[in-house]
């Protein structure tokens, strides 16, 4: 005898799935500016949540939008009072939660954490340009350089104390992964955000090499970073993470292949790593990359150089974020976004364009 009200078994596993599970209804027929169900937050951010932000150039946009929308974004190193807004980012201020400059790779993030924890005391981190000295781990934060090696060392020590404070205070770290290729010291495996000779320093192929990180290594690095963080913190609450992938393609590749191949490889590996990590209950993934590279936008998301993300695109990305993590202010975030937000991200990677042969 048939059971009353029993739903018939689906003919196939795709029947009765929601519309976002299908390419046609989820992408082709969907408004790319309001992609339904593309992001469902894993945990809440409320007024008291201390949010830290770090990562590649694209992460600067995220920081600024969070701040504008009333989120409690940590900033442990601020510019002096009266310093013009237009100059702050040139000196590495107003970009992230501390003045570390762009952190393009997970290896770089791990290296920073090791330094803060006292597990690493790097030797080769002072580069020169002319008679000025630069912190090779964040070469772009002092456009005029430091006056001496001792000044670099003292400022780095101060900076690490602030990063330590940031690690302690943050409830959530939003980290934007950018690159898999990193310039590395062959002898001690130190990694740098830009190639020696780009901003400061001199390139010597006997000293430095380009390493293109692989999936397993990046995964292990991030897990080690989490471990170091938990040992550093005196708080019992574990830090949560929101990972995102920068949609900005590579400016140039140091690998002997077409830049398109290198760029897609990088983003694919990072995406796979982020996907794996976000299976943990305390790690969320936010799809900046997917929103920007949605085929429905037909590459209109970028400026003419097909690399710089348009302001309207950043707005669109953050709109999806705020659809889940509601802005803290009563005013709608659209009102604030209409204000003149000058967000020209500082990007060492973009400097590589000037080295291309014409």
């Amino acid at each position: 005898m048939p059971i009353k009200n029993k739903q018939p078994d689906p003919l196939n596993p795709y029947e009765n799935l929601p519309s976002e599970r299908f390419w046609k209804s989820g992408v082709v027929d969907e408004d790319p500016f309001t992609v339904k169900s593309i992001y469902t937050k894993k945990f809440n951010i409320d007024k008291g949540t201390c949010v830290a932000s770090a990562g590649s150039c694209f992460a600067q946009h995220i920081s600024k939008y969070l701040l504008l929308n009333g989120f409690n974004v940590i900033d442990k190193e601020k510019a002096p009072q009266g310093f013009p807004e237009s100059l702050k980012s040139s000196y590495g201020y107003n970009m992230f939660s501390a003045r570390f400059g762009n952190i393009y790779s997970v290896k770089q993030l791990l290296q920073l954490a090791r330094e803060v924890a006292g597990l690493l005391a790097p030797k080769d981190f002072i580069w020169m340009k002319g008679n000025k000295f630069y912190d090779a781990f964040r070469p772009s934060i002092e456009p005029d350089g430091f006056t001496s090696e001792s000044e670099v060392i003292k400022h780095r020590k101060f900076h690490l104390s602030k990063v330590r404070a940031m690690f302690e205070e943050m409830d959530i770290l939003i980290f934007t992964m950018g690159l898999t290729q990193t310039w590395t010291n062959k002898h001690n495996q130190l990694v740098y955000p830009s190639a020696p000779g780009t901003i400061a320093g001199e390139f010597d192929p006997l000293e430095y090499e380009l390493v293109n990180a692989e999936y397993n290594e990046i995964l292990a690095d991030f897990n080690e970073f989490i471990q170091i963080l938990s040992e550093l913190r005196t708080r019992s609450e574990k830090c949560k993470f929101i990972l995102t992938i920068s949609p900005v393609p590579l400016t140039a590749t140091g690998i002997n292949e077409h830049v398109l191949l290198s760029s897609i490889y990088s983003k694919s590996v990072l995406r796979a790593v982020a996907g794996k990590l976000s299976q943990s209950h305390n790690i969320d993934y936010f799809p900046s990359y997917e929103i920007v590279n949605n085929p429905k936008l037909k590459s209109s998301a970028f400026e003419e150089n097909l690399r710089t993300v348009k302001k309207s695109t950043v707005n669109n990305v953050m709109k999806h974020f705020f659809a889940e993590h509601k802005p803290m202010h009563v005013d709608t975030y659209n009102d604030r976004l209409k204000k003149n937000i000058e967000i020209d991200a500082q990007c060492e990677d973009a400097l590589l364009e000037s080295f291309k042969n014409n």
Binding site: G82, Y91, E142, D144, F146, F158, S161
Partner: protein
């Protein structure tokens, strides 16, 4: 010929003027002093009209040796006793640790001058742009008391003070840099940052009357004013 010095500012002119009264007059023989003071709330009512500094008589607490308007070019120096000095910025809770290069930029471009009182800041900047090398920033005295926690590591603190002083000293005689007169170190306590409390005793307002505010921590007395004048004259004679 006597050098003509004009002091303009708010209530902090009080100690300078009182200092002028008690300075050994032999030191002043080569100088002619003029003072113009209005309270901070009224300072913005003064105007720069072309080359002339037009002050609103109704708000002046004190003027000495002045006409109703001032042709700034007739003075050898115009000394601003108002607003903060770069050293005072260390007091801000968000003050970090800045490189020498950044501090040079910060001091030279007068970014430290900007405060919430934008009208007054604009007026001071306008005067500076007009007479440039004749303009000397003295600013308000550094306070005499900690109001809140600042840095926990004194070495960063000391470094900043040293750099700021070095930069201001080097700029004073440079042809194309702002002249900033910081209070001599012996006016300050061991922090290098707070005025010694004894200079608060007998603190004065711009009208020469005693400052009776029990919470006053940055209006100083005649002795303080005298030291500032002597320091200024020393610098000018270098």
């Amino acid at each position: 010929m006597k050098k003509k010095l004009l002091f303009i500012g708010n209530s902090h002119i009080g100690s300078i003027r009182a200092g002028f009264e008690i300075v050994n007059k032999n030191v002043l023989t080569n100088y002619q002093f003029s003072f113009c003071a209005a309270s901070r709330n009224n300072f913005y009512k003064h105007r720069l009209v072309g080359d002339r500094f037009e002050f609103d008589k109704s708000v002046i607490n004190f003027n000495y040796n002045l006409e109703s308007h001032i042709d700034l070019h007739q003075y050898d120096y115009c000394i601003c006793v108002f607003n903060v000095s770069p050293l005072a910025r260390l007091k801000h809770k968000d003050y970090s640790f800045y490189s020498k290069a950044l501090l040079k930029n910060y001091i030279e471009k007068l970014y430290w001058l900007k405060t919430q009182e934008q009208d007054c800041c604009d007026l001071v900047l306008s005067i500076y742009k007009l007479i440039n090398q004749k303009f000397i920033f003295v600013g308000a005295p550094l306070t005499s008391q900690f109001n809140h926690e600042l840095w926990h590591d004194n070495s960063y603190y000391t470094d900043q003070i040293t750099n700021i002083r070095e930069i201001c000293d080097s700029y004073f005689d440079a042809p194309d840099k702002p002249k900033i007169l910081l209070p001599p170190e012996y006016l300050l306590n061991n922090s290098g940052f707070y005025t010694i409390e004894k200079y608060l005793k007998g603190a004065l307002n711009a009208d020469g009357q005693m400052n009776m505010n029990p919470k006053n921590k940055n209006h100083m007395n005649a002795e303080y004013g005298k030291i500032i004048i002597l320091e200024l004259l020393r610098k000018l004679q270098q």
